[in-house]
């Protein structure tokens, strides 16, 4: 209970900002409808209240209509009116479609009864709604499993897929495609690479068109003929595509819906685009032109066409590259000013450790707190941008400990590599799924596939529970060592097991004050555990599907979670409902991390993109593409400027958050990277992987070599040198133990953890 109470104190002063969104969703009578309203159909999803959908494109209009129908069905006449007026739709526009979608709404709700009723269905729709077209698509996805509803839904599936219904001669598809291929192969070298980007989306959409129009055999031939030409990093999607051979399959296939509902984004220089356009118009090649118009978003820029390697670096995501505008928003990546604990610091210090000399202490303090003298970083968010919990006495004490440790920190560098201490989990029978260390490295927690969570003490200090209420009554509350007395000595042990989840535990995170532990699991819940009583305090329900990752904010109180439902949620420990929902990813969210200043969260996904979200507004402020596989590891540099990400493709990519640019690629791992961590001063990046190695990279050099001239920043074109080998400082092989977590102690000793698989 302590958690909730502690949080409540903060919640009071938080009202001013926090209430704004919650009112928004709560005010619209039941929360369901509010939420359905909130996702605007742009990529800037889930900014509550601020939805101004552009009603230009036909798909968007359809989206609107669908939303309107839903609202009308639920008798929300007022909202209907507002939305209609806002979008400037004629009154009768809605009636035209009314017949169609009436079934859809009920279909959506009916299809998910076995989830959590209404709530579930609205969540589901949020999942895929976010991107532009086809509001009802996701409900279709679910109902696809229920054949009874299928007939009713038919018209609305057509809404989703109607773009595919155009009839061309199926035999000619191959001819068109190879015609275009010939053309692109014949253009000047400088344009070829850029235009080649068109191949993959074109291939996918042509194939889907064939399948949709029941030309199964032609589709198969088309696939076999041209699938080999596609870039190897699309292999996974092609595999999904290859299994899809019938129109019936298209319903309910998420990958397909992703293709359909989001425009594939290409960046092409103006010259190349003109070339393509002229060619297609000359040939009267309407088939291809239509696809390009309808399903592709071509982001045209002026200047030199990009080279093959530049394109390869950025492509690979499920929906193409990020639009340039997507990364234009200002990000306050600077760190928050350290809280003013100078005065209490000295007092506490004296109390805490009398034996240590005072003058000795002051000097190192200034070193470590160099930022204190500095003025507010222009890139830092204001201190109160989001309300943060107030520091408790124990927190201050911990800060002091931190600074003391920091003075003893080893300065790392290429000539001064960290020592690595490896914690092997023995007898885990392949069941270890998540690990976390506390910041002061005193505790280690592991989540297991058998639903258990175990906590070990790494120091000689054993883990003790608080005494029972009856016993607590007996102790002398006035005594100085009351905190010591409340602990039950009989329960002291090196490890504790926490039971509560009903599925594999995929994410685990300690609170910064070491009082709580957060775990998320396949069972769809996130649980908060007390490390005083070793019991579960809260089960946060909201994700209806497996939750893949969760993490506490560096300032505590808030936490972020993300899972199979493609929505990342921001929670506060004392609210049973999420404060923010970040939707926009096109596939599972596989990893989530907080920015050091707690104002932003980053999520990595199986759609092979990374998104940075603003906690305050809920907007997506950065989209990073370039990975060729699901992203399983993310890490911010300690100064908050950079982000490192690792994926199943075994590569680590480095990103400049301020400029929204990829600035480095570290190749070397041969399997999925499950953990990334910067050293405390940010000089070294450590990466741990399924290939049983820990690798150390020279982060200072990687960031220094950077030349971000204005042009690069403006166009987002980067020249990556292939200097992974120079940046690699060391490779340390473990004995058949995949490295699933890394942690730098406050003195820069690297701790690694994994389960030994004999």
């Amino acid at each position: 209970m302590a958690a909730v109470q502690g949080g409540l104190v903060d919640a009071v002063e938080k009202k001013d900002i926090k209430t704004e969104p919650s009112e928004d969703s709560g005010g619209n009578n039941n929360a369901n409808d509010g939420r359905l309203l909130s996702p605007p159909p742009g990529s800037s999803a889930s900014a509550p209240g601020g939805n101004k959908p552009p009603a230009g494109a036909p798909e968007d209009q359809q989206t609107l209509l669908a939303v309107l129908q839903f609202l009308r069905k639920n008798n929300l006449a007022e909202s209907v009116e507002i939305l209609r007026r806002e979008a400037g739709l004629p009154e009768d526009a809605l009636d035209l479609k009314a017949g169609d979608s009436a079934g859809a709404g009920s279909g959506g709700a009916g299809g998910t009864v076995d989830l959590e009723g209404e709530d579930a269905s609205s969540l589901l729709s949020r999942v895929t709604v976010s991107s532009s077209a086809a509001a009802q698509a996701p409900t279709k996805g679910r109902t696809g499993l229920l054949p009874t509803k299928a007939v009713e839904d038919q018209p609305d599936v057509n809404v989703v897929l109607s773009a595919y219904s155009q009839q061309g001669d199926p035999a000619l598809y191959g001819v068109y495609y190879s015609g275009l291929k010939r053309f692109i192969e014949s253009v000047l070298d400088c344009h070829r690479a850029e235009l080649s980007q068109v191949f993959y989306p074109l291939f996918v959409h042509m194939y889907l068109e064939l399948v949709y129009n029941n030309h199964e055999n032609e589709a198969k031939v088309f696939f076999e003929k041209f699938s080999g030409d596609q870039e190897c990093y699309y292999e996974d999607d092609l595999r999904v595509l290859s299994s899809l051979t019938k129109k019936e399959h298209m319903r309910g296939n998420e990958t397909l819906l992703d293709f359909r509902t989001s425009k594939f984004v290409l960046r092409i220089s103006r010259d190349s685009y003109q070339l393509l356009k002229r060619h297609l118009q000359e040939r009267q090649n309407n088939q291809i032109w239509n696809i390009i118009q309808e399903h592709l978003y071509i982001d045209i820029f002026d200047g030199m066409p990009r080279s093959k390697s530049q394109i390869d670096a950025m492509s690979g995501s499920l929906a193409g590259e990020a639009k340039r505008e997507a990364n234009k928003a200002k990000v306050y990546y600077g760190l928050l000013k350290e809280p003013e604990i100078e005065l209490p610091l000295d007092d506490e210090d004296e109390e805490a450790e009398n034996e240590e000399g005072k003058p000795k202490k002051k000097k190192p303090k200034k070193d470590s707190m160099g930022s204190k003298s500095k003025k507010q970083d222009p890139n830092a968010p204001s201190q109160t941008r989001i309300p943060l919990p107030e520091l408790k006495d124990s927190d201050k004490l911990d800060k002091i400990m931190y600074m003391k440790e920091a003075t003893k920190r080893i300065r790392l560098g290429p000539d001064n590599l960290p020592s690595i201490c490896f914690y092997s989990f023995l007898n885990a029978y392949q069941g270890l799924t998540a690990v976390d260390f506390t910041d002061d490295s005193s505790l280690i927690a592991g989540g297991f596939a058998d639903s258990t969570v175990r906590v070990w003490s790494v120091t000689p200090k054993k883990l003790r529970k608080v005494k029972s209420a009856a016993d607590l009554n007996l102790i002398d509350k006035e005594s100085d060592d009351v905190l010591e007395r409340i602990m039950d000595e009989k329960t002291a042990s090196e490890s504790k097991i926490l039971y509560g989840h009903s599925g594999p535990v995929y994410g685990i995170s300690f609170s910064p004050d070491r009082n709580y532990l957060l775990t998320c699991s396949e069972d769809g819940t996130i649980r908060l555990w007390s490390l005083q009583t070793f019991t579960c305090l809260v089960g946060y329900k909201g994700h209806n599907y497996p939750v893949w990752d969760t993490q506490f904010s560096p300032h505590g109180y808030y936490f972020i979670s993300g899972g199979h439902d493609r929505v990342a949620r921001l929670w506060a420990t004392d609210h049973y409902q999420p404060l923010r929902m970040f939707s926009g990813h096109l596939a599972d969210i596989t990893s989530t991390r907080f920015h050091p200043n707690s104002n932003y969260v980053v999520t990595g996904s199986s759609d092979r993109t990374i998104r940075l979200w603003d906690v305050l507004t809920g907007n997506c402020v950065r989209i990073f593409t370039g990975h060729k596989g699901p992203i399983h590891a993310l890490a911010f540099s300690p100064n908050g400027k950079f982000l490192a990400s690792g994926a199943t493709d075994g590569r680590v990519l480095l990103w400049d958050i301020g400029h929204g640019l990829m600035i480095g690629e570290l190749k070397g791992h041969t399997d999925t990277i499950y953990s990334l961590k910067f050293s405390r001063d940010g000089e070294i990046l450590a990466s741990g992987s399924m290939d049983n190695t820990v690798r150390l990279w020279d982060a200072t050099k990687a960031f220094d070599d950077l030349e971000t001239d204005d042009f690069t920043a403006a166009t987002g074109h980067i020249h990556l040198q292939d200097n992974s080998q120079e940046l690699l400082l060391g490779t340390y092989m473990s004995k058949s133990t995949p490295v699933i977590h890394l942690h730098f102690t406050r003195r820069n000793l690297l701790l690694a953890a994994g389960a030994y698989n004999p």
Binding site: C232, L432, Q725
Partner: protein, 568 residues
């Protein structure tokens, strides 16, 4: 980038027969072909979809292997009831059976006797999860402790020694100064860049750390010291420790120098100790000795063929040492012989040459024959058998002629028994059945009659063992329904339930082997069987003999311990 051809996209669809079989199993008969096709396509698609979802769970479970739980979770994701009862330990729990033109995969459900379960003692509780810490790296250098993988994996050592120009060193770094530049380069990436560098790099001897020097000192002292317990421990360490790679050159030199000195001094005990070191090095799974063979092989060969290995050749059992070394030689031939180094043919030539020499002493002669015989049945057939007559005549000359010296006589005696031992099993295999003593005398001269009796003994042994072998394989495969089906000649009906059949042979195997093989083979001896004989029924005798010899050599070592102390 029309990239490298990837494996063809899978368009596998379940056969329609499966649909029919499944329909029948739930009571739907006479499914139309069309519906079968439609169903199978649909089912295949759904299965693929589930498999793709299951992969997600595998990735998040941080595993490389897909498990049944992943499938269950994927089903749960789609709101489908998971399949219960498939928590199999085996990777694929299905058995395969065929018969009557039908092929079938089925899930084996054994009938379990409850009383068996109740009466068997409880299995040990699996160990609880525990946490263990070790140093993966200390200031950038990976310590070579058992918790860390060997600095240079065996494959890499092999590549280094067989293809020195292609050396890429993943994860190996003892110089300490070179910080893994380009270590991680996979062969494909880094080769082009590194080729030039590698050739320029001088081969320097490694500096051993203080700990390593201490270890080396301790180990070598224990290996040749007087305390047998310590020696066993040291040899065990050599045979299992993963971090010996850097010390290998020293050990190799130690052994070769040791042999050189002790042969001159005729110090049998020390020679035996050194050979045991060689054996331990060879047994170490993390070491690849190819680079040090130029030192080790001469040492081993010396111990096989040297004229004199001990001070009192008439009393000391140096024959055991020769046998032991010959086996080591055969083992290294088997492991390291390649078309480029030709170890086996060079060794064979050496042995043959000195054997053919008229003036060769009996001791050397014995060594040569032992060395050749250990190389396998083929070598015996082509090189030893043709010379049996000549050799027989020579032995006869010593045994029946005027007494020259006691030593010669002992030597001839040993050679004779050696020849009989090795040749009998080979002859038993290549000669047709009726063993006629006269015929043997004609073919093999003086040794003929003795050989004949040995061969006959070998045959009976072989027959006995063949019986056992048959029996045992039967007991192993019997529970598999496939075998029973094919044996009974009926179609699957008689299949899985045959407990009575199982019981009979198993009781037989329980009875028969004990009297047949008087001494239970010790683990190292079994190792020799595998390499010495290709296969087949004749192996029994040999394996007995080898086992016997092994024991002798062990005895010998303890006996000569005393003599060695005297020497010192």
């Amino acid at each position: 980038m029309a990239e490298e051809r990837r494996p063809k996209q899978c368009t596998v669809v379940l056969p329609t027969e499966s649909m029919k079989a499944m329909a029948e199993s739930i009571g739907v008969g006479q499914l139309q072909e069309e519906s079968c096709v439609a169903l199978s396509e649909e089912v295949s698609y759904r299965i693929k979809e589930i498999a793709q979802d299951a992969l997600k769970f595998m990735h998040h479970g941080k595993r490389r292997k897909l498990t049944t739980n992943d499938i269950d979770n994927a089903l749960k994701l789609k709101n489908v009831e998971p399949l219960y009862g498939f928590q199999s330990q085996e990777f694929i729990p299905f058995r395969f059976a065929s018969g009557g033109g039908r092929e079938l995969h089925f899930y084996e459900e054994k009938e379990v006797d409850l009383s068996d379960i109740i009466n068997t003692p409880l299995p040990r509780v699996p160990l609880d999860v525990s946490l263990k810490a070790h140093w993966l790296s200390i200031e950038g250098v990976q310590p070579s402790i058992p918790e860390n993988p060997p600095p240079a994996p065996k494959e890499q050592q092999k590549v280094e020694s067989t293809e020195p120009l292609k050396v890429v060193k993943p994860g190996q770094e003892e110089d300490g100064t070179v910080q893994g530049k380009g270590q991680g380069a996979t062969a494909a990436d880094g080769k082009g860049k590194e080729k030039g560098l590698i050739r320029l790099k001088p081969r320097s001897t490694h500096e051993l750390s203080v700990e390593q020097q201490l270890y080396y000192k301790e180990i070598t002292e224990a290996c040749v010291g007087s305390c047998e317990a310590k020696r066993a421990e040291a040899l065990q360490s050599i045979a299992t420790d993963p971090g010996l790679y850097q010390m290998l050159p020293r050990f190799s030199t130690f052994i070769s120098e040791g042999v050189r000195v002790n042969v001159v001094q005729n110090n049998l005990a020390l020679l035996i100790y050194l050979m045991r070191m060689v054996k331990a090095l060879m047994d170490n799974p993390t070491l690849y000795l190819e680079k040090y063979l130029h030192e080790l092989i001469p040492a081993v060969v010396t111990c096989i063929v040297s004229k004199q290995l001990c001070l009192r050749p008439d009393v000391d059992n140096h024959w055991a040492l020769r046998d032991f070394a010959a086996r080591l030689m055969a083992q290294s031939c088997k492991t390291f012989s390649t078309t480029t180094n030709n170890i086996q043919s060079r060794i064979t030539k050496t042995f043959t040459k000195s054997w053919l020499d008229e003036k060769t002493q009996w001791t050397t002669r014995y060594g040569c024959i032992a060395g050749l015989a250990e190389l396998g049945a083929d070598v015996i057939k082509t090189l030893i058998l043709p010379r049996l007559t000549v050799e027989g005549a020579r032995i006869k000359a010593v045994m029946e002629g005027p007494v020259v010296s006691n030593i010669d006589k002992i030597g001839a005696d040993h050679v004779q028994s050696l020849l009989l031992k090795h040749c009998a099993s080979v002859i038993a295999k290549i000669r047709p059945q009726p063993d006629n003593v006269e015929q043997y005398r004609i073919d093999y001269g003086y040794l003929g009659p003795m050989l004949c009796s040995h061969v006959m003994k070998a045959r009976t042994q072989a027959a006995l063992q063949a019986q056992q072998v048959n029996r045992t394989t039967l007991t192993i495969t019997q529970p598999r329904p496939t075998l029973t089906v094919s044996q009974s000649g009926l179609s699957g009906s008689a299949g899985p339930r045959t407990p009575s059949i199982i019981k009979v042979p198993s009781s037989l195997t329980l009875m028969s082997p004990r009297p047949g093989t008087p001494s239970q083979p010790s683990p190292p001896a079994t190792k020799y069987i595998v390499m010495a004989t290709s296969a087949g029924p004749a192996s029994t005798q040999q394996f007995l003999c080898l086992d016997f010899h092994h024991q002798i050599s062990e005895d010998q070592i303890t006996v000569s311990n005393g003599s060695k102390e005297k020497c010192n």
